[in-house]
């Protein structure tokens, strides 16, 4: 019979044995390949920091980086603007309508990125419903929407929107609505009560939702590659192309490291002010 003498403050040997497999696994199959990327960025094909110089200074690469940040900022902003009213209504109304709205959001969230990307290919395609509608209103021939920055922005917004709604809802549902009633009883108009009380209370949701969406967006591979503009690639698409088409591992790795550093920097700033544990609700 094994006595349970493990006090909650010091691990015994058993506790370490239980933890070890996952740690070893992640070191061998995650940290080592990640280190490999770092290593390749300065040694492939020969040792030096030339790739970083190129990625950071070459106007072509700089435009890719700026395009990525610009698109991600746009997607994040539109996500906040769209998600806020939906999360607000859902959190306030509750009941059957609230449950149905949440369910629609969750349903979209659980549907594969590829399926949602494909849906936008149909919708924005040159024989899709939007084109037909524009033709019917006299815009003939309709503008090319697919394979542009517009289509990738729309699809990314749609794909990341559920995450933003969930981040906002998680915060809004904890706001005590009696505070709003108190404000009203003290003579605040609904708008000033919203602006001075509800909005500041919901702001942490905006910050964490925007952080998640922005970080996911700058690293998103599938959607921009499939329906974005081939001429205005995002960083991740560029990394993939360097490997698949040119076998340029050094450049691809340097770009990957830049992407990783930007991602970690954003999360580090968030962590400094809010704590990363809050990011996951």
């Amino acid at each position: 019979m094994t006595p349970t003498k493990s006090t909650p403050h010091r691990p015994d040997r058993l506790a370490l044995i239980l933890l070890a497999p996952l740690l070893v696994f992640l070191v061998v199959f995650f940290l080592v390949p990640l280190g490999e990327v770092m290593w390749m960025s300065i040694t492939e094909p020969s040792f030096g920091f030339g790739h970083y110089g190129k990625v950071l200074l070459d106007p072509h690469y700089r435009r890719v980086v700026l395009d990525t940040l610009g698109t991600s900022l746009m997607v994040t902003t539109v996500c906040v603007l769209l998600a806020y009213p939906l999360a607000y209504v859902t959190a306030q109304i509750g009941g059957t309508i609230g449950a149905v709205l949440l369910m629609l959001v969750a349903m979209s969230f659980w549907t594969s990125f590829l399926v949602r990307t494909y849906a936008w290919m149909i919708i924005l395609g040159n024989r899709g419903p939007v084109s037909e509608l524009l033709k019917a209103t006299g815009w003939d021939p309709p503008p090319l929407m697919l394979f542009t920055r517009f289509s990738s922005t729309v699809a990314l917004t749609h794909i990341l929107l559920p995450i933003m709604v969930m981040a906002l809802y998680a915060v809004m549902r904890k706001i005590d609505l009696n505070i709003m009633k108190a404000a009203a009883s003290l003579g605040a108009t609904p708008f000033s009560a919203f602006r001075n009380i509800y909005f500041p209370l919901s702001a942490p949701g905006i910050v964490s939702g925007s952080t998640i969406v922005f970080v996911l967006c700058i690293g998103f591979y599938v959607t921009p590659v499939l329906i974005g503009s081939p001429r205005e690639q995002m960083i991740s698409g560029m990394i993939g192309a360097q490997i698949e088409e040119f076998l340029a591992f050094g450049e691809a790795s340097a770009m990957a490291m830049v992407l990783l550093v930007v991602t970690v920097a954003i999360l580090a700033v968030y962590h400094r002010f809010f704590g990363l544990d809050k990011l996951w609700g």
């Binding site: 094994t2 506790a15 390949p33 990640l34 990125f113 399926v115 149909i122």
Partner: protein, 259 residues
């Protein structure tokens, strides 16, 4: 609340859900291109999908990879979650960071690493390679879910079992596992779905031999406008739709009964 606000909220919810439904009619369309609305309807694409080994193969591969990933993830994550929730030690916060790194690193970044690292290890285009990579990616969420369950567990249940003579491992299977059934199920389901849907890493390491369904779909979208693709999309969306419809009907039915 003002009705305009409610309408705005509903409009956004429609924007979130409605576009996905367009894949359903497309899978029955007789048009060889992506014309919408479809000129006619038939089941030909479905027959094609299930007869074509270049589609059924990846479908089966995805099930194998997702099942292997789920099993390995749970085997690694569950014991670790016990130690991390029940013990305090030096370096714990560093280990916490390590455990969560796979959600922080963009998939394309680690995909580059796997592409060369797994080539050296001979793991490219193997089930094992994809399962190992996916297990890294699914472990943080599974770990968080199991940990959340363990934190909420009253340890006196296990203590009672052990004071009655059950070794810890027996206490785990007889007491902890059944009590935390929901947390373990959710965690395993997250791992399964995440692995089944994962595209970026699978694109670079699964190759032709063990191509997963998302890789096959990605290639179909990129190389040619293959209408059979809409069948795969409909099947994936159909599963989600069925699960949500079932849970909605159950709630609706329950609410009706209690009234």
């Amino acid at each position: 609340m003002r009705p305009t606000m409610i309408l705005l909220g509903i409009a956004v919810a429609v924007f979130v859900a409605l576009p996905i439904f367009i894949v359903l009619p497309m899978s029955f369309s007789t048009s060889p291109s992506l014309a919408f609305p479809p000129p006619g309807y038939w089941l030909g694409h479905y027959a094609h999908f299930f007869r074509d080994p270049t589609w059924t193969g990846p479908l089966i591969n995805s099930f194998i990879v997702a099942a292997g990933t789920t099993l390995l993830t749970m085997l690694l994550v569950t014991p670790a979650a016990f130690t991390m929730t029940r013990h305090d030690f030096r370096g714990k916060s560093a280990i916490n960071v390590l455990l969560l790194t796979p959600v922080i690193v963009p998939h394309i970044v680690i995909a580059v690493g796997y592409f060369t690292y797994f080539a050296k290890l001979g793991l490219l285009q193997t089930y094992l390679g994809v399962i190992l990579a996916h297990t890294c990616l699914t472990s943080p969420l599974a770990f968080l879910t199991v940990s959340a369950g363990l934190k909420g567990l009253d340890r006196n249940y296990e203590r009672a079992a052990q004071s009655l003579g059950a070794p810890p491992i027996v206490a785990f299977f007889v007491v902890t596992l059944p009590v935390l059934r929901a947390a373990f199920l959710v965690s395993a389901l997250l791992a399964f779905v995440h692995s089944f849907d994962e595209t970026t890493v699978a694109l670079f390491i699964s190759g032709r031999d063990v191509a997963t369904l998302p890789k096959r779909m990605f290639d179909a979208i990129r190389l040619q406008a293959d209408p059979v693709l809409s069948v795969a999309a409909t099947l994936l969306f159909g599963v989600v739709l069925a699960v949500f419809a079932a849970s909605f009907l159950r709630k609706f039915f329950k609410a009706g009964v209690s009234r």
